[in-house]
Symmetry: C2
Subunit: 467 residues, 2 copies
């Protein structure tokens, strides 16, 4: 069982009184409210904050952060609670700042292909607001996460192979720093060489450097033609090799997702689909009608060479939606394979040339471990997940799951990969940070953290391992 | 005339002796060598360093930086000397570390579409090394700059509209920090959410946080089909509006460059071309044969609606090369318009919706100023340059040029743009940094700088304005 070794001081009555006085009913210390803000979708044990603020403006966030600073109370930003690495667990106590009420789409500028939103706007809310403009926001981590949270964790997901990650799609942000200063990073120009890239410094900083309150993001024209396909393979290595060849040929895939037989089985049960229970690739093609046709033909040829079976098309919007909904529900579908279990979700990413080797070795390791651990992956990026189903009440089961996850990370690092492609470090991956980046790079990260948050109040205990 | 108000201490004889002892003939204090390393391609007055080291390895750079640290000697990285904002001028004296001897392509991995190079490798050297692999490195700032210098200044250029900037195309780096520590940033995975994005923090930091010694960069398959076109327009606004419509429709242009009539005149003289002396767009299309045809048809339709004339194709490689060589030589061609002059090169970038307004107002301002200032631009990104030709010996001429450049920046900032799209801040743009980012964001940049370079020895006097 995971235990946290962290000092935790209660906020002073003066702090509680000051916050209550200022924010009235939008500030709460109720146990149920705190409990709700102390758990995410990881298998880590929940840890509630001492209090929650439902913020409505950037100025309010700044006020709260200043109050936290003067009372030495940790600050934990909260979006939709869909983190997979314990980012929002209040392991040092503190104030959870819930940004879900900051859900206004402030501006959509079709002529510049950008939009400015408050940090609590979710990706689906943004896409709903774009209805009728002919534009869409592509980043899609599966969960309907808030854009602030997605930026904080450098999220990506199924579309990243074509459209990049949050790193590539945020033009600028409003951020409340540890001293309560409100800064604007970046801007609206498509590119800039004006000073340090504070936007990219904050993206992926998981709330440890500041609280993101607004973002300007890139939008894209909805492609003239979109087409999807599903294809099963005899062996997982055949599917992976088909992906590798597709990427190496430069086919501009919009999505290329791998699910192993167990993940397909979970989907069939959960989403009432009737897919063949074999390793399967989901494809999506974006472009002009001729372009999509060309891409699809190229991919069909590759797939055939690798033993692909039952290549099935889904060109109608409703069929595509059903397909991707099933893919997105795979996390919940997998949980259904072992009732009562939580998923320890791994997230390695390796150079594409090592992907087949990494997946095959990992599949053998899963089989040897006796764990249930369906595999799904954004394989066009070399990124894949095991959802290791674990009975969190059984410490031996947890230990086995953690050992399996650990071996996967070690394997990925040996193959010049990363311990996390898109979920972030949070609590769960801290032990790999030195191994991945080296002690000196970690010292640079610590120096940046100390410079911007000298009292260690911004989401303390996340990213940087305890010394 | 630009004057520098900076303290400058001579390095101690002990430092000189230590460096000479360690590096022998690769360390030089010769006046001619120092003079060569104290000038760039900006109109700023040259300032030579006190000494130059021709480094051959990362370990040597680390040794030199440590020696500089213990003797309080500033460190200035030097690539090819093609900076446009005074980045390499030794305004506080110090050691220029010339990385041009670190010119080995360390690895090309076609299967992963990446390559690892020493920082002194230039973009043309890299592309020569890629010959026969079917891959290319797209970032192209015009000058045959070193990849280390291009990363340090967050360079981009003609291909950025399709392939992004250095920010998007560096996967990882080896960097020597102010204390001599050698860190690895990023890695070889296509994406990662593992900790602070030190890669993006160093990219664009202009040598003020560390010396880049190696880079791993992304490569792309050479498109199956490439086609170029040139088209003249009656008025500059027609050309700009054609660009805006092209971008808004999402046509995936590889290059879309604007040159005004004066720039075309300069090119005709310099490169012996016979282009119509009118505002002109240069286009390049990358894709499959059908894709390129589709893009070209879409653009031809748009161009026709905006009064485009003489749409001319260049599909043969030699014609394309001649065309782009002429475009790349435009800087030198423009200098030929006013013999003996230097160019004060501006570099604003605005949201595309403001591009027409910004260019038209700027053209009127140039006309009113009486200066010769041809306009060229990577207009697909909203980025354009005036090359204001100036007699640097005539202080009234310099003052007029600086005032014109200043008005252009103010105009761009009013339009939510940036003072530099790709050249960097260096010395010349420091005065706009607060206006663009605000005082609090600048304090964050200063805190990062102080944390990583507490003695202010890494390229001091660049990016951050004096307090």
């Amino acid at each position: 069982m995971h235990t946290y070794h962290n000092a935790r001081a209660q906020p002073s009555p003066q702090f509680i009184a000051a916050m209550s006085g200022r924010f009235c009913s939008r500030f709460s210390t109720a146990a149920a409210v705190c409990a709700h803000h102390g758990k995410d979708e990881s298998s880590l044990p929940p840890v509630p904050p001492d209090a929650v603020l439902f913020a409505q403006t950037t100025a309010e966030v700044a006020e709260a952060v200043k109050l936290c600073g003067s009372h030495r109370v940790p600050v934990i930003p909260y979006g939709t609670g869909t983190s997979l690495e314990g980012h929002l667990l209040a392991i040092h106590g503190g104030l959870s700042i819930d940004l879900s009420g900051m859900n206004k789409v402030l501006a959509v500028r079709p002529e510049d292909l950008d939009a400015t939103v408050e940090a609590g706007v979710t990706r689906k809310q943004l896409n709903a607001a774009l209805h009728g403009t002919g534009l869409f926001f592509p980043i899609d981590p599966g969960a309907d996460a808030s854009l602030g949270g997605m930026a904080a964790t450098r999220a990506s997901g199924t579309n990243a192979v074509r459209y990049g990650t949050m790193r590539d799609n945020v033009l600028g942000m409003t951020v409340v720093m540890a001293d309560g200063a409100i800064i604007k990073t970046g801007g609206r120009a498509r590119k800039s060489a004006a000073g340090y890239d504070l936007t990219r410094l904050i993206i992926g900083s998981e709330g440890t450097l500041g609280v993101i309150t607004e973002l300007t993001v890139r939008l894209y024209p909805i492609p003239e033609a979109i087409s999807c396909a599903v294809c099963a393979f005899p062996m997982i290595i055949d599917a992976v090799n088909a992906v590798i060849q597709t990427i190496q040929l430069g086919v501009p895939m919009a999505r290329i997702e791998l699910l192993d037989a167990l993940a397909i089985k979970a989907i069939n049960r959960h989403s009432k689909t009737e897919l063949r229970e074999a390793p399967t690739l989901f494809f999506e093609f974006h472009g002009s009608p001729a372009g999509v046709k060309e891409q699809a033909e190229a991919v069909q040829t590759i797939v055939r060479e690798h033993g692909g079976m039952d290549f099935e098309w889904a060109s109608r919007p409703e069929d595509r939606s059903r397909l991707w909904q099933a893919r997105h529900d795979v996390y919940y579908a997998c949980l259904g394979l072992k009732p009562g279990a939580r998923a320890l979700t791994t997230d390695v990413c390796v150079p594409i040339s090592r992907l087949a080797e990494c997946i095959v070795e990992s599949a053998a390791d899963v089989a040897a471990s006796g764990m249930l651990a369906p595999l799904v992956g954004h394989v066009g990026d070399g990124n894949f997940h095991l959802a290791i189903l674990v009975d969190t009440a059984d410490s031996a089961d947890v230990a086995r799951a953690e050992a399996l996850a650990g071996r996967l990370v070690e394997r990925a690092l040996r193959m010049e990969g990363t311990c996390t492609g898109e979920h972030g470090i949070g609590i769960g991956k801290q032990k790999y940070l030195v191994e991945e980046h080296g002690p000196d790079a970690l010292l640079v990260m610590r120096a940046v953290k100390h410079a911007l948050d000298p009292d260690n109040l911004m989401n303390p205990g996340k990213i940087l391992p305890p010394r």
